[in-house]
Amino acid sequence: MNTLSVSVVTPDGSVLNDQYDMVICVTERGEIGILPNHIPLITPLIISAIRLKKGDQIERVAISGGFLEVSNNELTILAQSAERGSEIDVERAKRAKERAERLLQSKQDNVDFHRAELALKRAMNRLDVAN
């Protein structure tokens, strides 16, 4: 059977490089599942978890937004940061979540709410993937 060769790269290096049967990502318009022999595709991804399926095993990778590119059974995900479920520092993610929550509740004018919101989303996404 055909497989997809998946690589997840970030500016800090490659996070994952392996063969999978199916990849499920979340785009701005909703979830998208990629199977082998997909037509070439480029689409942006939001802060979310990618699910990679190999046999009965499902691996999850947290990404903080990025791009998906598929061509010739090669699937590349360009993310600004990405972490595999097993590598996520839960304590750090928890701290980041608390910090973002504090910022959001502080109701001060000088707080960049949009950024705090994104930070909260990233932290919750990482915690979600880690568990």
């Binding site: 790269v9 970030t10 500016p11 800090d12 290096g13 490659s14 785009t27 701005e28 318009r29 998208i32 037509i39 070439p40 595709l41 480029i42 689409t43 942006p44 937004g65 990025g66 791009f67 590119e69 061509s71 010739n72 590349t76 360009l78 600004q80 940061s81």
Partner: protein, 287 residues
Amino acid sequence: MASLREIKSRITSTTKMKQITAAMELVSASKMNRAVQNAKSYEEYGKKIKEIVTHIAQSMDEDEVKHPMLQPREVKRTGYIVITSDRGLAGAFNSNVLRHLLQTVNERHSSPDEYTIIAIGRVGFDFCNKQNLPVSHSIIGMADHPTFSDIHDLAKETVQMYVAEEIDELVILYNHYVSAISQKTTDLTLLPIVDLDEQETKLEYEYEPNQEEILETLLPQYAESLIFGSLLSSKASEHAARMTAMRNATDNAEEIIEELTLSYNRARQGEITQEISEIIGGVSALE
């Protein structure tokens, strides 16, 4: 001629200095290896994102409205990102970039309103302040092995300046890492994005939702990633330059020690000769 004791103390201090510079060379060498590795691991990302940008930019029809980041416009104000190190002792590493900056600015602009500087690194920041160059953003204390998140905010703000038309062109000046013994002072125009190589696009991509919206998010990320790539290259250059500078310093120290040892021995020999001739003189006076 200096006294024996003076020469001796100079030898001792030069030896100690040599030990320090030799140690610094080793430290820089190992830091350089890491920095080069970091730059390599970024390369994959940089290459891929460039590929996608090129793909999309070329697949768009000529008559369609181009994204502002792909469209050169009249340059009223230029932004310069200047990457230097935080510390000295790296040979001509910093002065090369800063000299290049001064030259460019003097050649291209007549008033400080026409440009602004984004300084990464303490040396560049201090230099600009001293020369009264306008600095709008700065980062001091960049880690030896920066991660993307360290630079992300600055990169974002800078790209935002272009989008908001505060600047009409963004140029980055840094030392490009060629090899451990060669670093090249480089200026690179980041925005507008014009240097996309023509490549044969065999594949017809599906775009979801559509090209314009993808470009909207992709191009800022591309520009940000270029800034990060330059920073990594500059870091590798910095450590390489420091390593070379320290090796030269160590070699020089060795030379000085050799010379000093020679004159020390001469002075010692002279003293002995003098003592002998004094004794002989004394003996012959007694006879």
